[in-house]
Amino acid sequence: MMFRYLKNNLGWILVWVLASLPILIWLLMKPLSLRFENSSLIFRSLGQLAGLLGMALLSLNFILAARFKFLDRWFNGLSLVYQKHHLVGGLAFGLLLFHPTFLILQFLLVSLSAAFNFTFLFGSWPLFFGKLALLIFAGLLVITFYLNFKYNVWKNTHQYLGLVLFLGGIHMLFIPSDISNNALLKFYMVALALLGAISYAYRVLFSLYRKKEFRYELKEVKKIKENVFELKLSPLGPKMSFLPGQFVFLRFETGGPLAESHPFSIASSPADQYLSLGIKNLGDYTAQIQNLKPGLICRLEGPFGVFSYSKGFAKNQIWVAGGIGITPFLGMARDIAKSKNDYKIDIFHSIKNASEAAFGDELSQLAAQNANIHYYEHLSEQKGFISADLISQKIANLKGAEVFLCGPTGFMKSLKEQFINLGLTRAQIHSEEFSL
């Protein structure tokens, strides 16, 4: 149990170990009593701690954003990496805001003019760079947390955070402080910042990830429903190997919105002739899909994700899809039908009404041809929301099954809780987070 926890959370544990090390060094550098002797020193120490932890987390966050394959493994799925990135980013920002807050309070204990001078006057270049870094950080994160920019516009602004790491790093290196006075701490903090900077250069500055992309040609755009399409792709170079249920980042070698990179679940089996993606028109980018013509070249980055039936440990599985969340299951079902293995699957597709049942025809057919696959459609407009209760009525041995969920976040969260209430453990329930 403990081992499994470690394995699934290796990345997250590592983040906290790396971020806590500077705190440990700081604590051991001087006797604690000296650090917290009076209110002035208390504020100063709190300011230093906030700065250290904030800067460490900020540096690590650039690694989390670089979409490295090893992150997919260490965090049990890339979508979880992004969740953590969001959390770590907010934490780092908040901590780095408390850094000057505590220092201003420390100066206030001396005098109002001391606090005024510290806050508003130039002081020195290292101090100035620190203030500038924080201002830019604040601007960019206000955009991220509070303003609702369009995705590609937001993404453009977010990339300027590299500047914050750079300016913050200079501030950290040159401001007279515990870091500048202690070689070990200095070395460590600079090393962390450099790791962050390298990740940033890899991802944003030089786009080195592109060397590992797979080039595919669009062979067919098949209309499944009014706003759901299946893209069939054929490799122009090396074929990408993947597990059914994984996802890729897709971008087209063309100008305009189609050049943006977006994640989609693979809807085909590795044994299929074409690699296919199931896409629903949900926003600016996906609205362009219907304009795609065969012959267009695209790049695939990946595969990512641990959402695959073969990663489970039970042969009896319950797959619950909400709307277009059916796509990874389609790939998995096609794979099981092709490989004729001994998995027993009950697929529940929850959609508003029949017109939304994308790939329903094909799945019904697969179920008809394969005794070990059952396919049920749940029309929520008629029957209300799908529930774990309703599902359990069709399952012989619920507690021995493994559940896979894919759909809107609220949908998955609710079902997860319901299955836990029915006696399943967290380890038996897998979900693929599509959005943050």
């Binding site: 000296l34 002797e37 009076n38 002035s40 020193l41 100063r44 969001h86 959390l87 907010g90 934490l91 920002f93 908040g94 901590l95 805001l97 408390f98 000057p100 807050t101 201003i104 309070l105 420390q106 100066f107 206030l108 204990l109 001396v110 005098s111 109002l112 003019s113 001391a114 606090a115 005024f116 001078n117 510290f118 806050t119 508003f120 006057l121 130039f122 002081g123 020195s124 101090l127 604040a138 994160l141 206000v142 947390f145 007279p176």
Partner: protein
Amino acid sequence: MTKKFVTTSIFVLLALVLGVGVVSLLNSKNTGTAQNQKTISDSANLSPQTMLSLTELQKHNSNQSCWLLISGKIYDVTSYINSHPGGSQAITFSCGQDATEAFNTQGGQGSHSKSATAMLADFYIGDLNQTVNVVTPPASNSASQTSQSGSGRFRGGDDDEFDD
């Protein structure tokens, strides 16, 4: 949760920065003088007049009353001893003496920052050998020992920051 933490940190810092800015502006309007101007006025005073001689300086040589002579100016840094980032001993080592060298070279480690030098001005009580009005006598007789208020108070300039 993350968002709440972020919102809180933004508000706290913003409130602090605005507070410091606004109160400082109001203060400078009220006193009519710049924050770091502390020239002592004068005659119509009931307190004894003291000449800031070297002998007088040497009397203020402890934690309870600590004066420093830096570049010809006398500073009462008693209340600051515990706030000194370089440690209290770095200051008490020089109490009652000429600390010009120590201050200018930051104890041989470099030099003090501009903000530190600006902060020093707040503790100025007069030039060497200038005669000023000092409210309470030096430490050896002093009963007030609180670390914040110190024992040497002076007229003129604003002593608001030591009130409360």
